[in-house]
Amino acid sequence: MSAVLSRTAKLRHPVAGTLAVLGYVVMIVPILFVVATAFTAGSTLRFPPDGLSLRWFGEAVAYSPFLEAVVSSLELAVLATGLALLLGVPVTLAIHRGRLPGKDLLEGLFLSPLVVPELVVGLALYQQLMIGLRLDNFTTLLLGHTALLLPYAVRVTGASLALADPALEEAARGLGASPLRAFVTVTLPMLRPGLISAGLLGFVTSFNNVPLSLLLQTRDFRTLPPAMLDYVQQSYDPMVAAASTLVLAATVVVAVVAERTVGFAKIFGGINR
């Protein structure tokens, strides 16, 4: 891979090519070492690994705190993503198609959770909702994750909506469709790529979230990232490498789904202006 990059790069510019290769090394190589150490037969995290085995994968899969955390993470990510879309899509429609004053301000408001540091949001929810209002941690987590995902739902589906010709909906109305029917038969299919992108992004963002999930965790409900962080703090064995490798494999599957449905680069194009 880096050979290809440097070969095409060298033809153009040797300095740029070298920097690019360096960049890829920093981005990718540590991840490869995680995978390599996960297959060790020994009991310490070292490289090169002491022999090959799948033993740590077995342990990771059987380790009940991780298992419970995975279930919690999935549950939370699915609910928060669904809720964010359910709330965010109507907001997008109102902003893009409605006649409201201060649309830019309104959109800015819904994007604001992206601007405030997540750790600050986490602290706010922990202090005000969990301690202040005595909400249970699952409700607080769901509230927080949903608020965090709203920007994706509003902006990414908004980008799809902005691409759709407003005349399509009018055409449907003119042909006899009620407003609801025009939305379901014409607008919703137009929003499909945006909904898939926002859904995937939202799911991944919630699943991987550390700051909120860490501050709002309790013994009863805790997601995978804080569970893994805790484990690394306590003991330093290759089980986390195995768990990480499994997370990596699952992420690859998500990436492939993303590529097949909407196109990988497009999904992330949506969040960066």
Binding site: M1, V26, V29, P48, L100, V120, A241
Partner: protein, 273 residues
């Protein structure tokens, strides 16, 4: 769509945003439980004069600046090579650069424990080759944090710069070459200035991410290399010092807003100049 139905679409999302984000954030910053705003201000005043606290702020900003510089220096070449490449590998390499964005921060950061740890790759290689007697202390250093953060935010820099470069007409490079500019001159006089707004956005995103990131300084910095984020977490959940937590949160948020504000202003000035 009439104003009233737009409002109906908007309200559920707005209510959620208020309860799940805006109100708690405002309440936490200005009136933590049992603590008045005066105490938060007082704590902030000591933070801005106390050498220990100032040291943490300065370390956070310094690391943020170094990471931002490295991400631009490594990310822009990758972006420009990929955006200008005709190779079919360019798409694969772009996907490879974006993929880490989907992958859990915990997993990505964990890779550096494997690389930099006392039994890690670098230590093993150095002692194995007899270059050093004992593996050097790489973990829990500023260098470790910088490496971890560059790995974390380089993908963001790459795709932001990529969309900026892709918008620059390749004909302009060719025109510059035709007018006698060398490849390097054309790069510095055409591509860089025209992609500058994108580079500024990338730098802002990376800086904001670096000064608020938690996982990386927690895993790679340990307790000796405290940053604002790890400090905030410890105020919130270890010492439960609400005034200090709020003060730290304000400093962090102001830092991020300040930099985004400056970059927005710079962008606007650049657009009119």
């Amino acid at each position: 769509m009439r104003a009233r139905s737009s409002l109906l679409l908007l309200l559920p999302g707005l209510a959620f945003l208020l309860v799940g984000f805006l109100l708690p954030a405002v309440a936490m910053l200005f009136a933590p439980p049992g603590v008045g705003f005066a105490q938060v201000l007082e704590r902030m005043a000591t933070m801005l004069t106390d050498p220990y606290d100032l040291g943490i702020i300065w370390r956070t900003v310094r690391i943020g600046l170094i990471v931002t510089a490295l991400c631009v220096v490594l990310g822009f070449p990758i972006a420009s090579l990929l955006a200008r490449s005709q190779s079919r590998w360019a798409g694969v390499l772009l996907a490879l650069a974006i993929f880490p964005l989907l992958l859990s921060n915990v997993v990505r950061t964990f890779g550096w424990l494997v690389v930099l740890g006392s039994n890690g790759v670098i230590g093993q290689v150095l002692t194995g080759l007899g270059i050093v007697e004992e593996a050097p202390q790489l973990l829990y250093t500023e260098l470790a944090i910088v490496l971890g953060l560059v790995q974390l935010f380089l993908p963001l820099a790459v795709i932001t710069c990529y969309s900026a470069v892709a918008q620059v007409d390749p004909g302009l490079d060719e025109a510059a070459r035709g007018l006698g500019a060398s490849r390097t001159r054309a790069f510095w006089t055409i591509l860089v200035p025209l992609s500058l707004p994108g580079i500024v956005v990338a730098a802002t995103l990376v800086f904001a991410g670096s000064v608020t990131a938690y996982t990386t300084p927690y895993l790679l910095g340990g307790s000796s290399q405290r940053l604002l984020s790890t400090q905030l977490f410890s105020y919130a959940s270890v010492t439960v010092d609400w005034a200090a937590a709020s003060a730290t949160a304000i400093v962090m948020t102001v830092l991020v807003f300040l930099v985004s504000g400056i970059s927005t202003l710079a962008g606007r000035k650049g657009a009119t100049a």
